[in-house]
Symmetry: C2
Subunit: 476 residues, 2 copies
């Protein structure tokens, strides 16, 4: 037996280029959908949280039909990107402005780079960008590729010119191998469902053989989410270690007060007393074992406040109801927005709506529409914890017998949505989230039961009247 | 509107620590399963391809029941890891010996690191390793953690001692937060199904409340897969660029002959003639556009040979039949191993088996057992292209009317299995693979149809006899 040991470290950009399937770029149709999705999400993230009413234009054009090459163009009126940062955000994997405790659509610092890498691998064309940050004197244009061996941008060319009218926003154009026929429906559905949950957005989409204009339906934009702090109950050892390394001289009490959500002087002292820890000990002097103990105690303590909701921006029951009626043509919709909860230090809110009757055709198990941070999720339903919850739900308890005309909408918003894959299409099986989904469903289902009971009674009453009428008829 | 632009680059190890859900570490039960899986797969990869009959021992023990901490221990008799490489393979994300065109269970260079990061985040304990490479004079022991800000190993401690008996192999122990109750069944099933497709492995598993010994059922080990070359028909521009940068002075003809699967002198010349390219041009002098053109022509050319099969190690129809009978207790099994095919330069083989009757209960859609490179896939079935193919298959054409007692096994082996997520649980929707799955299913279903027709005829005959007998009876 001869064994040769040959080890190699793969650079991160090259790794993602080779494994692009795990980020949703698995075939030309899905890659086209994913490209639109990544760009549109960035546009929404660059507008809504800053109080800007989003105007987004998307254009897909064939470039070379024989080779299935298409250009995808997305333009927004967002806050833009500072000129010198443009190469980084397009050319370095994991470079992002969204690693904050704040609700964003983007989370991975990966989307743009995957688009660039996919273009590079299929058509070998650079991505084109035009952007101006808010109040920037200049507009910048770049053409960029990625050096995958170094995880660095290659600037193919760039120019800058005067920003006369103080325009701000971003426009991106990329040429990729795509499949319009097989992605068209999904892209349309994605945009339509985006407009439903973000009715303050205006979206214009022009494809090779169609045009779609999703008008703004309200100018009421949700209050921008604030940046938050991790919740003390569900933070892990490594995170606490990192936090400690950044504030070594603080005492234990100070450390808790400054770094965690909803921890004031009083609460910090009660906790430390309960945990039998010295409030005046500098955190820098804690041993590894003491840090582990601290985290365990934080996990076990029951006295913390609920995570604050003002970092999160749920859709709210009204919007879900309107949405469900318009997507599904339901006869009645029952929506619930749960109180905030948290997992691993990240606050989240689950919302659910149950839609009944109307144009919904009776099905053997409920139709499910999923959203995460206002992004419609269209793929990988089978891997999503929401599907599991809906399937295991005890519908009989709520007067639902299948086949029944029932559909469910589930929306999770969080400062960190735990996606089960880098393609951001399914929510992982996190116990805390699963639990909240069940409760949201139960709350909505209770309302449905009341509605169905009332309908039953009305029907009975009607039947009684009818037979009474018949009886009266007969004796008459 | 005040906008602050704050960008940050996340180091790769920290990124995976934060996003561990996408690698299968999404809750304590699944993380426990994933830990076993990553370690067992490494053990199989360190034995079978080198002609070593695998002996694998797995032990799970509670460490602290109140906190749900468990130790997971996996030991093998494989080729081991050279001492100086141990810190790297455990402590650097994307460090691997498997970035070769060769069939491996591992593919991402990520498994061990995810185990270390998960342990670190939940119990903050280092991983312990003992290993000796083949013919090594020493046995090495390390305890390792990962510095996530640098993607570097932290060596907590190490020692080395004489390898008197020239032992080779690897033993790994890790303490994690787990959930035995909820992972037990899956781990057992995973191991059982591993043993079925790798009957030359001997696996001993001891859990907190059970013991399982999967005996070796054959000492026939498949011929070790060879390392291969990419197939010319399905390689992408970026890959070709990289290959060119490593052999600039070669002529086009030489470049093709040396770097691609099944391309000899004659074939290279026919192709270059067809493509109107100069065989004597040094590849280093090709412009970007010429490289793009070259790749396009390579894609379009119809004269290439089929990818070679000797790099791949399918299970074979006999093993699938025996396996299906023993897992499912089927009455009859029809198995097919397709010829090799390729996608994006990677050869692959699809195998399928259809199992019928016996202990299989009639179901509305076929039960599906999935394998990839001999790894059983137990999660995320809904996101797997195999599920789609089985669901869309026209079963009626093959005399199958649901509910029917039918189950399907699908095995994909490839030098690169296109997983849809870093957790390696579902195969992405790659058109070439989908197509081969359909054909494999069709081939197997044809055999099923013949079987069912014969049964039908026998039944008819039986009925005829019975009624004839009755008739004879009556006239007698
Ligand atoms: N349309 C846009 N407008 C403003 N900034 C953008 C836009 N698109 C991308 N960016 C910036 O580029 C960064 C990287 O984007 P991306 O790779 O998609 O990762 P993510 O969105 O997860 O951060 C974003 O964090 C954001 O700062
Ligand atoms: N049990 C083992 N025996 C020998 N080598 C191993 C073992 N486990 C891991 N390795 C080495 O460590 C490397 C990294 O392992 P891992 O992080 O699981 O990634 P991958 O298996 O995808 O390469 C492997 O490529 C292999 O070289
Ligand atoms: Mg993004
Ligand atoms: Mg591995
Ligand atoms: Mg990933």
């Amino acid at each position: 037996m001869t064994v040769t040991y040959a080890y190699e470290a793969l650079p991160v950009a090259e790794w993602f280029r080779r494994n692009r399937e795990i980020a949703g770029f698995q075939n030309p149709a899905r890659a086209m959908y994913q490209t639109v999705r990544e760009l549109v999400e960035n546009s929404l993230d660059a507008t809504e949280p800053y109080g800007i009413l989003p105007n987004i234009t998307i254009t897909i054009k064939p470039v070379d039909e024989a080779k299935s090459w298409y250009s995808v163009y997305v333009e927004d009126n967002g806050v833009g990107i500072p000129g010198h940062e443009i190469p980084n955000v397009f050319g370095r994997v994991f470079y992002s402005s969204k690693y904050k405790i704040k609700q964003h659509r983007g989370v991975f610092g990966l989307g743009l780079k995957m688009v660039v890498l996919y273009a590079q691998s299929t058509t070998n064309r650079p991505i084109s960008v035009r952007s101006a940050a808010v109040r920037s004197d200049k507009i910048y244009e770049y053409r960029i590729m990625i050096d995958t061996t170094k995880n660095e941008p290659i600037i193919v060319d760039m120019r800058e010119y005067e920003n006369k009218y103080k325009w701000h926003g971003t426009a991106v154009k990329v040429v990729i191998e795509g499949n319009w026929l097989n992605s068209k429906k999904r892209i349309e559905e994605y945009l339509r469902r985006t407009a439903i949950i973000s009715p303050y957005a205006e979206i214009y989409f022009k494809g090779p053989d169609m045009e779609m204009f999703l008008k703004r339906r309200t100018i009421k934009i949700p209050p921008p989410p604030e940046e938050g702090l991790p919740h003390p109950k569900s933070v892990d050892v490594d995170t606490v270690k990192q936090m400690i390394s950044e504030s070594k001289t603080a005492t234990l009490a100070e450390f808790l007060i400054n770094n965690f959500d909803g921890v004031g002087e009083g609460l910090a002292r009660s906790f430390l007393e309960w945990a039998a820890l010295d409030p005046n000990k500098p955190v820098g002097s804690l041993t590894q074992d003491e840090i582990v103990l601290l985290v365990e105690k934080m996990k076990a303590y029951e006295g913390w406040r609920r995570p604050r909701a003002d970092w999160l921006s749920p859709a709210g029951p009204e919007l879900l109801e309107v949405g469900a009626k318009s997507i599904l043509g339901a006869e009645a919709v029952f929506a619930v927005t749960r109180k905030p909860s948290s997992y691993s230090g990240h606050p989240f809110i689950v919302e659910a709506a149950i839609a009944w009757g109307g144009q919904i055709v009776p099905v053997d198990k409920p139709i499910l529409l999923r959203y995460a941070n206002k992004i419609p999720l269209l793929y990988d339903e089978g891997a999503d914890v929401a599907r599991k919850v809906v399937d295991e739900f005890n519908w009989q308890n709520y007067k639902v017998k299948f086949p029944a005309p029932v559909a469910v909408i589930i929306h999770v918003c969080s400062t960190k949505v735990p996606y089960a894959s880098a393609g951001k299409e399914a929510i992982a099986e996190i116990q805390e989230i699963e639990e909240e989904m069940k409760l949201a469903l139960r709350d909505a289902a209770r309302k449905l039961r009341i509605y169905l009971s009332r309908k039953e009674r009305e029907l009975e009453l009607l039947n009684k009247y009818t037979s009474l009428a018949k009886y009266v008829d007969e004796i008459a």
